[in-house]
Every structure is written in C-alpha cells, then in structure tokens.
C-alpha cells in the first residue's frame, strides 16, 4: 500500500516496547538470571477472581480466570520469598530506576517527580501475586524518524512476569526466574504513518535502548503494536518474533479490519497474537480500566532533581555519535566495529581516560589477547581475564613513562599470560633504558653538530637490539631540544 492510501483509510498505529534492564530484580535483590537446569522446588497456587470496589469484575480478568487452573511455580536458589508472594516487595531497585531515568532522558521525556507504584491485575498466573507492579516515570517525549518526530506518550518501569514452561490439562507451569526482572515500557502516540514506518520506529527504539544498560538476547525485548483504521476498533498485537514480520503483519491487519468494515460489521477491540506468517489470531479481550490500583506496600516514588542531573551527566550517547567520536580519536573503522562487537567500549573509555593513544588501546583490547590466545591454544576469555584492566593500564603507564618499548609490549603480555607477575614481566633482559639514554646523551655531547640521521647511525651501531629506532629518535630529539 502507498502512503496516501494509509492516510485515506485513517491508519493509526502506536508501539509499546518492553525492554528488560540489566540489573538485579526490581523489588528484591535476586539476580536477573534465567535458568535452564532443573528447578529446586515447585509450589502450587490458585488465583481467585477479585471484584473491584463496585463489585464489577474486569472483563479481561474474568476471561483469564474462566479456566480455573492450578498454577505451579518453579523456583531456584536465585529466587527468594518476594517472587513467591511470601514477602512484601523491597524498596525499588535504585540501579534499575537510574537506567529507566536514563532511557526516559534518551527519549527526551519529562520525568514525573512524584509517582505511585501501582498494581495491575493479571490473573493468568504469570504473576504469583495476581498483579504486576508498574510505575509511570516519564511522559511527553519523542524520537526522530524519516517521517518526522514520533511522540512518546509515556514510559513505565515495571516488573517482568513468570516464564511459561508448559500447559497441561488444568495446570499451568511457570518459572519464577523471570518474575521481577525490571522492564521499561515505552509507549508512543499513534504517530506511525504506515507499515514500513512501524518497522523503522521499532528498530530505532531498539537502537536507542541498546545504548543504555539493557539486557540483550532472545526475549529481552518485546514489541506490541496498537492499530486501527477509520471506524474500526483498536486492536493490540503481541508476539512479534522479529521486526521484519511487523511490516507484513501491519498490512495484513489493515486488510483484516477493512474486510470486516466492508461487510458492514465492526471488529472487536481485542488483543491478538502475531503468527510467524504475519497473520494474527485472537488472544484475549482488551484489558479494562478496573485493573489498576495502588501498591500499598510501597511508599510514593520520588525522583529528585539531583538524581536526574546525575543521570544526565553520565548519559550514554547513541552508537552513531560514539562512532564519530572514536573516529576522531584515531581509531580505524575496523577497530570501532570490533569494539562494539566485543563490547569493549567501557574498557576502552577507561584506558583512554588514563593515557590516550586510541590505536594502542585498541590493539591491547582487541588484537593482542586474540593473537596470544590462538598461539597458546587457550580460551580468549581466559586470556582476557588474565590481561585485565589492571594489567593493561599498568603496561600503558610504563609505555607512557618510556619504561617499556612499544615493540616489546606483546612479549611482556605473553610473559604475564605464562604466569609471570607483571612487575617481573616488564623486566626484559636488556640494559636499562635509563642507562642507554645516558650513554646516548654522552655520545651526542662528544660529537656536537651532526645531523639527526648521523646520530642515528652511530647510536644504532652501538645499541642495536637494545633500543628501537623510534626510541632512539625520541631520545635524540629530547637532547637536541635542551
């Protein structure tokens, strides 16, 4: 379909993106680790339908509950009483909150200074408590796309649900490992213009999120899409396995809604599931507004000016900006690519802040460890754990202070990997460079007025193998400047 056609049919679409954050859990101190080994225990629970204040039971809740199933929760030593709904939530995880603030700032949002953590009723068993804790932390943001600004309606910080393991007759098995992992939900306004714009926006949001501290890998980001055309009811589509299917799914959903309208009917407002071929199937009715009430076990959430400023100061930049910056520091395209690929950006930053010299740091982080690993036939990970930041900043420091030749660097690192103490490893069997320096000075003093090249010839004759040409030039220059 062409852009004009989308406009003509009154196409409206907005995204809801859920992204896991890279910290411990949101309301307890358990690690955010997914387990694939056998669970240590399994606990059976039932959930009950709870009427709201007015006695009215939410339609979505009712639908979920009709099945009347037993829920079995599988736990590990990496889950605690909080996930089991056997202990009140702890104070909100500050690290997760900071990451969420960071993300809100990256999307140009206004942060909400005072907010209340809410309980959103969910009784399909995926939350042991019967609700999901969620808090609105920011609103009114935007990001840029080829079709102009896409506005962000709001950003929420919430806990992830249990992982569905299997369903049997009357029983559903969930794993507690995922329950409580912090998520941000980013919901856009219905600003998306067409199918390819939906995909572009989803990818862009993903790119922005990945510049912050988020979890990577399958299942760590989930995209939901809200979509309608003129006179049709809004439909929420979940379960996109990859953004490539989005475009096709949008087109097919538009056609589906159109077809229903053309037959003189109106589509149901409902939640649908995206199938691998881009088709969708009914999942459940749209949740109503009766499902949100305060989390009474927690205090109001306050985000102070100071906190926002602190996060602002350390705000990560987008990959493109970082790339440009690295290029200006003298790194090659190839090196920049590897830095991202092997996620060495933080290490690079740290080492660069000590002594500069981007190309050398690139080599230290990305080239030498690999070469040594393949020569020694050892794991790269193992080599990298030996050649850690302490070792690398030590050798950089020595080079900076002229206590180590660039040419000897790899040999020194090999000695460290072979088990030598770093202090010992840099003592290569050579006369002290200080001694050589003195001798060179003496030589120049004795024969004043020669050209640099002439001095070079003399020096390299006397000290060959003990000093590199580069170093000799440096020392000569030092002396001549005096």
């Amino acid at each position: 379909m062409k852009d004009e056609e989308y406009e003509k049919i009154g196409f409206k679409a907005g995204l809801e993106i859920h992204q896991q954050l890279d910290s411990n859990k949101l309301f307890c101190n358990c690690p955010s680790i997914l387990r694939s080994d056998n669970p240590l225990f399994e606990i059976k629970r039932n959930l009950h339908l709870v009427a709201g204040e007015s006695g009215i039971v939410d339609l979505a809740a009712k639908y979920q509950h009709q099945k009347g199933e037993d829920f079995f929760y599988q736990g590990y030593d990496t889950t605690c009483l909080v996930e089991l709904d056997e202990e009140p939530p702890h104070k909100i995880n500050e690290e997760a909150l900071e990451i969420a603030i960071e993300i809100a700032l990256l999307f140009n949002c206004e942060l909400i200074p005072i907010s209340q953590i809410m309980r959103k009723t969910v009784i399909d068993g995926s939350n042991t408590s019967g609700f999901q804790r969620t808090v609105m932390i920011a609103r009114n943001g935007y990001f840029d796309t080829s079709h102009g600004k896409v506005r962000i309606d709001s950003i929420y910080l919430e806990e992830d649900s249990c992982r569905l393991i299997k369903k049997e007759e009357g029983s559903v098995f969930y794993r507690l490992d995922r329950l409580g992992i912090p998520l941000v939900e980013i919901s856009t306004k219905p600003d998306l213009k067409n199918a390819s714009h939906v995909k572009e926006a989803a990818l862009k949001i993903g790119e922005i999120l990945r510049s912050s501290r988020v979890r990577r890998g399958i299942g760590t980001i989930r995209q939901d899409l809200n979509i309608s055309i003129k006179n049709s009811n809004r439909v929420e589509i979940k379960g996109f396995q990859d953004p490539n299917i989005m475009e096709k799914c949008v087109e097919m959903e538009v056609l589906r809604q159109k077809k229903i309208l053309d037959s003189g009917q109106k589509n149901q407002s409902e939640v649908r599931n995206c199938l691998p071929d881009g088709n969708t199937e009914f999942l459940r009715p749209m949740p109503g507004s009766h499902r949100m009430y305060p989390e009474t076990d927690l205090e109001l959430l306050k985000i102070s000016r100071e906190k926002i400023n602190l996060v602002k100061k350390n705000l990560p930049r987008l990959r493109r900006e970082i790339q440009d910056d690295l290029k200006s520091k003298g790194l090659s395209e190839e090196m920049i690519h590897l830095l991202f690929k092997y996620r060495k950006l933080n290490e690079f930053k740290e080492l660069y802040s000590l002594h500069g010299n981007a190309p050398l740091i690139g080599k230290l982080l990305l080239v030498f460890p690999k070469e040594i690993a393949s020569r020694e036939k050892r794991d790269l990970e193992e080599i990298e754990s030996i050649l850690n930041l302490d070792v690398l900043s030590f050798v950089l420091d020595k080079i900076y202070k002229d206590r180590l030749h660039m040419a000897d660097l790899k040999q020194v690192l090999e000695r460290v990997v072979s088990g030598m103490n770093i202090e010992e490893a840099i003592k290569l069997n050579k006369p002290e460079i200080e001694g050589i320096r003195e001798k060179i000075f003496k030589l120049i003093k004795d024969k004043p007025g020669l050209s640099i090249n002439a001095y070079m010839g003399l020096i390299m004759k006397d000290f060959k193998g003990q000093i590199s040409g580069e170093e000799a030039t440096k020392i000569i220059n030092q002396f001549l400047k005096q």
Binding site: H48, V50, S54, E87, M118, V135, M136
Partner: protein, 423 residues
Amino acid sequence: MEKQKFDSGDFVEISLSKEKYRGTYLESPESGLILLKLENGYNIGFNKKDILKINKIKNFKEEKKLDLNFTENLDKPGIVLIVTGGTISSRLNPGKGGVDFVESPEDLFLYYPEIFNLVNVKKIEVPFMKGSENLDFKDWQKIAKVCGNYLNDSSISGIIILHGTDSLHFTSAALSFFIRDLNKPVVLTYSQRSTDRASSDARLNLECAAKVATSNIAEVVVVGHANSEDYFCLGIPGTKVRKLHSSKRDAFKPVNRKAFLEISRDSIKKISDYKLIDKNRKSFLDFKFEEKIGLIKFYPGQDPKILDYYVKNGYKGLIIEMLGLGQIATSGSRNSWIKKLKEIQKKGIFVCATSQTIFGRTNPYVYVTGRELVDSGVLYLEDMLSETALVKLGWVLGHKDWDIRKKMLENFSWEINDRIEFE
C-alpha cells in the same frame, strides 16, 4: 494554591506553572502532596506548593454497587462470623489509596463469596475492628462474650473469628482459657496477603475454617495454610500455636504438639486428639483477668534492677523468657538475678519460667543455675509457650482464691504437653 474543597474521586484539572493535568483527585498518604489518578489508571503526585489552581470538572459519583444476594443458606449448617479486624477484614479503599477495614457484611460477601455457599452464615458480629497489635485483654473478653451468646445455641454449629495475625496466638490462648466446657468449634482464621489480591491466602483459610466450624471438634482452633502452597490448612490448638514468620502464608505453626487437623477443600483429617462436640455440655465463660502481668526476655548481662520497675508499679506476676532449658544469670555472674528474684517474690510477684528456644521443654534440674532458680521460688512451666503462659498467668491471677502454683501447672486446654513426639 487557592483554597477549595475537593473530595476524593472528584474529576479535576490541576494547573502547574507550565502544564495542566486532568484526572481523579485522590488524598495522598503524605501531607503536602496530592495524588491524581490519570485516565490510564496510573497515580502521580504533586507538591501542593507547585499547584497554581485546581478546577473541579465533575463531582465524584459513586459507582453503583451490584445487588448482592446475601441470603441465608438454610440447608447448610449455621455458623456465626465474628469480624475483629486485621488483613482478613480489610479491603482496598481506592479513594484513600490505602487499605482499611470492610464496612459491612456485604463487603465480606463481595470478597469471600465461597464461604457463604459452604455454610449458612446466620450472623455476622463485629465487636470491634482493630489491627491485632492494638488489642488487649479487654478485647479478648469482648470476643469471648460474643462467643458466649452462641455457644449454647443449638442452631449454631460453630464460630469463625476473623483476626489480625500479629497477636492472634494471644487471643487464641485467651479464648482457650476464657471459654470453659467448650461444646463446639471456635475457629480463628486470618490472612497474610490482603484480600484485594487474586493470590490472597484468605480464601483457602476461610474455606477450611468453615469446614472445621462445621466439624465435630470442640476446641479453640487456629486454621491457616500448612505451607506455602494452596493445598491444605492446619487446625492448630489455640494454646500451642505461634506466629513464626513475619510474612509467609504458613506463619502459624504448632509448637511442642501436633496440629489437631489437616484440612483441604474436600477433606478433613484428624492428626491428634481433641475434645468432641457434645450438645448436652453447657459452655460458660470465665474471663476474670489480672492485668498487672509482664513478659521479660532475658539476655546475657541484663541488669536485674529492671525488676524494680515491676515492683514499683504493682505487678502481680511475671513470665521470664529464659535461655535454653531455663537459665538466666545466677551466682556465677557479675549480674546475678537470684537475690533480686527472691526480693520481688517476697514482695508478692509470682515468677514463672519459659524458654526463648520456643521449641522444647524447660528443665531446671540439668544445671546448677536452674536449681538455684527453683530454690528461689521460680515456677518452671514445662513446654508452655511464653505467650500462652502470659495469658494464662493473667487469667489464673484474676482468680483471687486460686492456688496459683497448682493452677499454673494444671492442664486446662492442652497448654502443657507431657510427651513431645519426635518429628
């Protein structure tokens, strides 16, 4: 901010210096703040001083409640529900944004429809509504009095008391002593997870409580989750029960005795001995109580001079929760309690010993210190729980003509178990 009166639930527009927000006005748990429920259901807060103006757009309109059919279930056994407070009697008040107590029996029906199908709830009594941390012996007496109205009423199979958890084991001990010749089930039950949650433990606890209240047991029983799962509950003797966890569903455990019953939704299983119902037995109340009693937890190095406080303030009896088998600092210590204990007993304070270990029996004869304490006049209370001992001491001392020493060691309601089985 302009002074204007708003009620929780009013739909308003709040103007700040730069922006406006619309939503439902809510009172904040913190002064100086107000909360607004936005149309997406989320609540956000504002400092009152940042607000330029609030305009009321629509008055609060109470949602019409559904008609609830709260009718008697004549073919089912009759029970009385006594509601005293606690989490199990609470509900969420969205207007205030917090939890408070249910206002009417209809609210209970809303939250616990199952129990009204299982039994015929003939009467709902509300002697008071309190968190159990705020109770005292007068409240125990009030509950006993309400029970007393129905004990000898043959149309009532049993009584269910909804109670807060924190001091529930004190109340259950008190009722075990206050109600004499008990002839039907008196069941206390609770919840650890609030009733607004789909995961609340209250439903299973209540269903099992209803089963016990219509069974053949004539005891004061605490009914609640047996473990973290929603499979079954235990029915534990009121004098042998203690809250042993601050938050778990199975917080209440039997101590130094087995539970009476194991109850699931479809079965009720006897685990240990109990008295049976008897229509010919007439129950009566005896809730005389001496308030001047105290419970002291001993710690190493504690100065015995704290006992002077109890003498000065006219106390009549003390439970000292001792270490191990029943040890506190005696003659080998820098701060021996022996002299002071003799002194306060001479001045009329009755002193008993229980153990901080919770599980196991006290025994003064294993170590010299214990014998020293016995010689000083301290009475060791076998395997009795400290909380039960405190309540019993108040009850026994309330009877001016009773032989205190003899009555403290008389087994009224399973509070002393002379054989603790291996588990």
